[in-house]
Amino acid sequence: AQSVTQPDIHITVSEGASLELRCNYSYGATPYLFWYVQSPGQGLQLLLKYFSGDTLVQGIKGFEAEFKRSQSSFNLRKPSVHWSDAAEYFCAVDNSGYALNFGKGTSLLVTP
């Protein structure tokens, strides 16, 4: 089964600083990849997805992600973090055409 690994359990950044959350996938062909965000007490919300084509994907809330086949990575980035970005971030891969396989998540803390 296809899987993703999020190496960082917790990340702390200062408000206004740039952000990069790491995600590595294990699959030989081009996977379908997703980033979701989960705020406390809320459901998961789709930030962006990659299926094919341009390897730099733009999402909502100012987020972007870059698919790098050579590194088996799909890292999430944001140039300037806002306090409201504090949340849990999940990378996911399409495992079957419908079921998503999620990573364990990275918890983002934003300091003043």
Partner: protein, 114 residues
């Protein structure tokens, strides 16, 4: 409705008790998914419906877990004879079509089995 609604928001059950968790997907959404999220983990797939048909239930942990969507809208996840290891947040998601390109998740039901 405006979003995916799940009830109850919290459920405390004694070990051995049966529970039923409800999911109201966005109106008209074809696909419905159940995921289980243990503390500190990512969501794990349980089962998938396309309209009223349960197309995949391979993620259900045991035969104590049962899900249905009889009329292709509301879904119920039932857990019989709950065990402590069933404690988790149960998430429901729906999709407009038969793909997973954009899932809309509910806030989940947090189940605690004592």
């Amino acid at each position: 409705g405006a979003g995916v609604s799940q009830s109850p928001r919290y459920k405390v059950a004694k070990r051995g008790q049966d529970v039923a968790l409800r999911c109201d997907p966005i109106s008209g959404h074809v696909s419905l998914f159940w995921y289980q999220q243990a503390l500190g983990q990512g969501p794990e797939f349980l089962t998938y419906f396309q309209n009223e048909a349960q197309l995949d239930k391979s993620g259900l942990p045991s035969d104590r877990f049962f899900a249905e969507r009889p009329e292709g809208s509301v879904s119920t996840l039932k857990i019989q004879r709950t065990q402590q290891e069933d404690s988790a947040v149960y998430l429901c998601a729906s999709s407009f079509d038969a793909t997973n390109e954009k899932l809309f998740f509910g806030s989940g039901t947090q189940l605690s089995v004592l």
